[in-house]
Subunit: 230 residues, 2 copies
């Protein structure tokens, strides 16, 4: 399938590599293509310059947010949560209309120091996933995978034999099934996918981030997740 | 030991039963003793009238919040989070001073319907645990066990052989060790207790509640918890 990924950071690159390896066609979207290709320094997350990454991932195309959105039959929001609404606006409602949008982002606010808090306008009585759905009512938003490090998102078998959980929230059951089919390609087990309900249920997995961040601070690695004991 | 428990709901009763069974002396604190004993109806959580419970738990005393706090060498906050600060004020700073306060409460706001949200003044950039610690600087607040149903708090072996996790947050390491010693009496395993750090880390476990509430809505039972996969 043709996949448009919004965001060229660690999450976007991880999905581009995985999806290309699975035989999908990928266009990564960014704000300004020339600026992105001109970057020569490692970013604040430790990612090498994008052009270096592109050299070894030549099957991935780079375009504007709008070009990536127009290209994709399915769209993945891999931008940081604070920038997601602006990126989607740049992508353009008409390029997103009718498509499944897999929303991986977390609305983190770094302005209070470390660890970040949630962005107050995008949390508690709402969530980023909900706001995206409200802003683009003809897009099929599915919130998923935001509760873990991106390395695990596309390779759950990396830890505990893949026996840990991932949540899905969204209003459209067919769209959630489409997303599950991708998750199975990554190695997710059917019985570890928890459909929490409609998009308002994204409040739960997004609100989990402050706990994830604390555990991450202890573990010094993202290679952990939660499993349900029952 | 002498334990003062603030709150006579399901959580307070569960701890009173367990702690009495372990040989501790328990006083449960409530706002108004006469009113509590006069209740004749099942409460909104399905708890039978308190006097009925007291008939079969005769070793537990009932007192005011202040009497329970004065009685306890250790205090347990088992009130609902929206009422915790008022209950502690009624308990009185001088009755709490220098003691370990085990804070089980969650700052839930039911005013937006079900599932509840967090109380905005007690979440995200702060937490109930932190606000209690700031309000009573000479109390040793330890946030723990708030991420699960009370039945599991005192009986973790009920599910998954006790292989699931509980978090601790608090500024005083000796107080956290005191709390761990209680947790071991309940059957908690040392390697499933995660010390998240100082009391500001209570933001994480409190923010987890919206996710817990969604999973609880699916499971229709509180007999589940999370475990770490790594």
């Amino acid at each position: 399938m043709k996949i448009g990924i919004l965001g060229t950071g660690n999450v976007g690159r991880t999905f581009a590599e995985k999806l290309s390896g699975l035989g999908h066609e990928v266009t990564l979207g960014t704000r300004n293509v020339a600026d992105k290709l001109a970057e020569t320094t490692t970013d604040y997350m430790g990612n090498p310059p994008f052009s270096d990454w592109l050299k070894v991932n030549g099957s991935t195309r780079l375009g504007t947010f709008a070009e990536a959105a127009a290209f994709g039959e399915i769209i993945i929001n891999a931008t940081n949560g604070a920038g997601s609404l602006a990126a989607l606006e740049a992508a353009g409602g008409k390029n997103l209309a009718g498509k499944v949008l897999i929303d991986l982002a977390n609305p983190l606010d770094h302005s209070h120091g470390m660890p970040p808090t949630l962005i107050s306008d995008l949390s508690n009585t709402t969530s980023l996933g909900e706001v995206i759905q409200e802003t683009y009512p003809d897009v099929k938003v599915v919130k998923t995978l935001n509760t873990m490090w991106c390395g695990l998102m596309v390779n759950p078998a990396m830890i505990a034999g893949g026996n840990h959980v991932n949540f899905l929230s969204g209003n459209d059951n067919e769209a959630k099934q489409t997303v599950k089919n991708f998750l199975y390609q990554f190695g997710w087990k059917e019985d570890r996918l928890i459909d929490l309900g409609d998009i308002t249920s994204a409040r739960g997995p997004e609100a989990y981030l402050p706990l994830w961040l604390r555990v991450w601070g202890l573990k010094k690695t993202g290679a952990f997740n939660i499993n349900l004991a029952e």
